[in-house]
């Protein structure tokens, strides 16, 4: 069985991020659970966690991480605390993406992460950056501002996100708050190619497209959209696809249709509602323009992916998040983003 375990791990190494990679590593985890040591099972899960997260299976990451945490708590001397807390940081970055988790439950998790950072001597910088993001996407602007300031003041250490990711989030804060020029200025080091990492600049590109249209920088937007399309691959970029579809809905409807056809399946199978919500915002904007005319061309998407379904599902998700967050921010966001695309259409 050790041989099969090694084979699976090496096979996974050769696979791009996606469902197959996750399935292969899941089998390795099963084998390790059945026939190998707890430590083997722990490290198999560490690889599985990363692949699950990068492939858009956040709920699988949560399960895998919970198991690793339970083992770590039992025998902390056996495992590397840095790696585990790093994964914990990922967890607090995604937990709010599921409206099924209540506000109190999420607050408890953030508190537990903060406790762990202090216990192992790490700066609270990642804690503040993640809780800032949670506040921002939940529509709690004042809290987001407070946490943003705490984040900028907290010292940078080895547990902090990489510089490119942080710069991206600084810029995103301004863009999400409607300060387009300031946001774009902040993101300049990324847009000019000076800062990058595994998910940057593709994530950044997707955020700046509509703001660029808003300030009439159409050529720059078109250039970055092309770059962005080239870089996005696989099911792990649902949010980015959604934003790109929204942008192309405004500028090149046929391109938007093509992109929708090649990515809609990801939105159907994905379980992370925030990512699906972001995707469906783009899809809703697309359908609102696509359905304006009678078209010969039939969209090659799954029969369940209709404009009616997109509308109903995006509204259901917005309500689900708002119920959790105790406001109407997501319903407003949905309407605002769709209107923005319609208002800025050039095609």
């Amino acid at each position: 069985m050790k041989q099969r375990y090694d084979e699976l791990r090496s096979e996974a190494w050769n696979l791009p991020d996606g469902k197959q990679k996750v399935t292969v590593l899941e089998e390795a985890v099963r084998i390790a659970d059945l026939y190998m040591s707890k430590e083997d099972a722990y490290y198999a899960r560490m690889s599985y966690s990363e692949a699950a997260l990068m492939s858009g299976f956040e709920e699988r990451f949560i399960v895998s991480f919970a198991w690793c945490l339970s083992q770590f708590e039992k025998q902390p001397e056996l495992y590397d605390s840095h790696q585990l807390i790093w994964h914990y940081k990922w967890l607090i970055g995604i937990i709010w993406r599921f409206p099924q988790f209540g506000a109190v439950q999420i607050a408890d998790i953030y508190y537990d992460f903060k406790r762990m950072c202090l216990q192992y001597g790490h700066s609270l910088r990642p804690y503040y950056s993640k809780i800032h993001m949670y506040a921002l996407v939940s529509g709690h602007a004042e809290l987001a501002q407070t946490y943003y300031e705490a984040w900028r003041k907290a010292p940078y250490d080895a547990m902090s996100d990489c510089r490119a990711c942080e710069q991206n989030m600084f810029g995103y804060f301004h863009l999400a708050s409607g300060r387009y020029k300031r946001g774009l200025q902040t993101l300049k080091p990324i847009l000019s190619g000076k800062m990058s990492c595994r998910s940057i600049p593709q994530n950044t590109y997707s955020h700046v497209l509509m703001p660029l249209l808003e300030i009439d920088q159409h050529d720059e937007a078109a250039k970055l959209a092309r770059k962005c399309s080239r870089m996005l691959k696989g099911p792990g970029y649902l949010e980015e696809y959604g934003r790109l579809i929204g942008y192309y809905a405004a500028t090149d409807l046929n391109k938007a249709a093509k992109l929708l056809e090649s990515t809609a399946a990801y939105a159907i199978s994905n379980k992370t509602d925030w990512n699906r919500f972001q995707y469906l915002i783009g899809a809703k904007a697309f359908f609102s323009l696509w359905n304006e005319k009678k078209r010969k061309r039939k969209l090659n998407v799954h029969s369940s992916f209709t404009s009616e379904w997109v509308e109903a599902e995006s509204e259901r998700l917005a309500r689900a998040f708002d119920d959790r967050n105790g406001n109407e921010y997501c319903q407003g966001l949905l309407a605002h983003k769709v209107n923005q695309v319609r208002k800025r259409r050039t095609c």
């Binding site: 099963r30 399960v63 339970s70 439950q105």
Partner: protein
């Protein structure tokens, strides 16, 4: 308020360049050759008639002199271009269709990596004075007019720096000059004492035809390649040759292509010049229309770069399509070795899909088969989305004559799913392992009536394990049950096990994942009515024996399928095994 200039520490700058900008100290050879060729190009543009030449002289005193008969430099040009870092005589034309190789004005600095002092003697084609410039590492320099008139052109004297003696040896210089300059269009001579050797002059590989290009590949790159494909991009002014590797390479393997800019070697380690899918080739390409980065070891990745890359990729595709018609044997050989790469290409490109799909192999219950053979055998295909699901059904599928293809390997699922678009007579279904048994032969109405209490009992017993039962007739008869799950089911099993081990905080998190984010699916245990034991169990009418039989067959199927067992299932297995033993031994006592 007064304006001041930044102070630049040249010593630190040189260290920075040598350690970070350039990957090795030998790049000074490239920079000097480049300056020489550019100077000659500039002089040609003036309309001068001369025989262009670069001469590199090596002296026993560990001095190297590089002479070129190019345009030379005037005094203002020396001040501007040699003494200001970042100034270049070539930048005005940066965005135009320039003929120069260099453009950053930092090239000369690379000489300080191997030399303590640089002496440059030059006479410009534009004015008469012969000038001497001496630059030192501490950032100081002097210029003076020489009385003796030198020929038009430039000579650069480098004197050996401690620890860099190797770069003043014949073998090293020859190696460096050949490495960077063997295909440059200007004659380059290396000389020591009275011995002279031509560095360049050979025909570059991108100008060689098929067989000659293959021979070049074998002698220079050390492989007997399968094919040499000419590649070209008009917009990028690129010409090259792509060799198909004679061995399979991993998707993750680093690609290394040899890239020249205006015939000067840029890098022999470049990975980006061909599209990602083209990992089955290595290429040598000469590019005129792309901009190198400041380190001159790769290109600036702008729109043009990606257009050129796509154009080069198109050449590969076109050639392979042609090869399928003109040399089917070679084509098949290439497919056999590089099927992983070809699958990646076919998934993204409809034309290539049509070309390759019949030749590509897939895993079936009958072993690896080419799609052409699969389609001859059956036009009704079922594809599994994972290897695990394929394994669950492969054995029975074969016995039932159902063509199942394993879609669990990278790209296979998408490739098989696309078959319907390509061949209207083919039907492709996605394997649903839990309902796979629906394809099997049903029992007769009376048999079903007999089996009904047995199935109800099984459902009742297995409900707590999220499993439902069915009964069908299928082959092989010796298999009493078929247990099927899908990957969603397996994942939730894992989540439940984790739930049992987690603390309270994460226990509540996992409850949400198990009950709210996912719907709990059921596994399927299908009894085989062709199996004598199963028939006996159904017919016996003894609920106790039926219970034992159901529990034993259920736990045995988990064990054989390598499914993880919960503590309850383990307990069940032990108990049913002990009960069976006890009954058997009791009967043995009676006889």
């Amino acid at each position: 308020m007064s304006e001041m200039n930044f102070q630049v520490n040249l010593q630190g700058m040189i260290e920075l360049l040598s350690k970070h900008l350039y990957s090795n100290p030998g790049v000074f050879a490239r920079e000097l050759l480049q300056n020489g060729v550019d100077a000659i190009t500039a002089r040609k543009k003036l309309g001068h008639s001369f025989e262009p030449k670069i001469l590199i002289e090596l002296y026993a005193s560990k001095t190297v002199v590089i002479h070129d008969n190019g345009i030379g430099l005037t005094e203002p040009e020396i001040h501007r271009f040699l003494s200001q870092i970042g100034s270049t005589s070539k930048r005005e034309e940066l965005d135009g269709g320039d003929d120069y190789i260099g453009q950053f004005g930092v090239g000369m600095l690379s000489c300080f990596v191997v030399s303590t002092e640089i002496v440059l003697i030059t006479r410009s084609a534009l004015e008469g004075d012969t000038l001497e410039w001496r630059g030192r590492q501490d950032g100081t320099y002097t210029i003076r007019k020489l009385k003796r008139e030198a020929p038009i052109g430039t000579s650069i004297y480098l004197t050996c720096k401690e620890d860099y003696e190797e770069y003043y040896e014949w073998y090293k210089l020859e190696q460096l000059m050949t490495h960077y300059g063997e295909f440059l269009p200007v004659p380059i001579l290396l000389s020591e004492d009275r011995y002279e050797r031509n560095i360049n002059g050979a025909l570059p590989p991108w100008q060689l035809d098929g067989q000659l290009a293959l021979e070049y590949g074998e002698t220079q790159l050390g492989h007997r390649f399968l094919e040499a494909i000419p590649i070209k991009s008009l917009i990028g002014e690129a010409d090259g040759i792509a060799y198909i590797l004679p061995y399979a390479v991993s998707l993750q393997a680093e690609k290394k292509h040899k890239v020249y800019v205006k015939r000067m070697l840029l890098s022999d380690q470049m990975s980006q010049i061909l599209p990602e899918w083209a990992f089955f080739v290595t290429c040598i390409v000469n590019v005129g229309g792309l901009k190198p980065t400041a380190s001159r070891e790769s290109f600036i990745e702008n729109e043009l770069f990606f257009t050129v890359r796509d154009e080069l990729g198109q050449c590969l595709k076109r050639h392979l399509m042609l090869l399928a018609l003109t040399d089917p044997d070679l084509f098949e050989k290439i497919v056999k070795i590089h099927y992983v790469s070809l699958k990646a290409m076919a998934v993204e490109d409809d034309e290539l899909y049509q070309l390759f799909i019949r030749y590509l192999s897939f895993e079936t219950p009958y072993g690896m088969m080419r799609m052409g053979d699969i389609l001859q055998r059956s036009s009704n295909i079922v594809v599994s989305s994972t290897l695990d699901e394929f394994r669950q059904v492969a054995r029975v599928a074969k016995a039932q004559n159902v063509m199942v293809i394993n879609g669990g390997y990278v790209h296979d699922f998408e490739l098989v799913r696309k078959l319907e678009e390509y061949d209207k007579d083919t039907q492709v279904g996605v394997l649903d392992p839990i309902n796979f048994t629906n394809l099997f032969q049903d029992l007769t109405a009376s048999e079903l009536i007999t089996a009904s209490p047995f199935l109800s009992l099984a459902d009742k017993l297995l409900e707590r394990f999220q499993c439902r039962s069915a009964v069908k007739r299928f082959e092989p008869a010796e298999l009493p049950v078929l247990y099927n799950t899908n990957e969603e089911f397996n994942f939730l099993r894992m989540a439940e096990q984790t739930r049992a081990e987690s603390n309270e905080l994460f226990g509540s998190v996992l409850d949400v994942v198990i009950h709210e984010i996912h719907e709990v699916p059921y596994a399927r245990l299908c009894f085989n009515y062709n199996n004598p034991i199963v028939q006996q169990a159904i017919d016996c009418g003894n609920p106790e024996m039926q219970k034992l039989c159901i529990e034993t067959l259920y736990t045995q199927s988990l064990l054989l399928g390598h499914y993880p067992m919960s503590s309850e299932e383990m307990k069940l297995m032990n108990m049913s095994f002990m009960s069976a033993l006890s009954i058997g031994l009791g009967q043995a006592g009676e006889t």
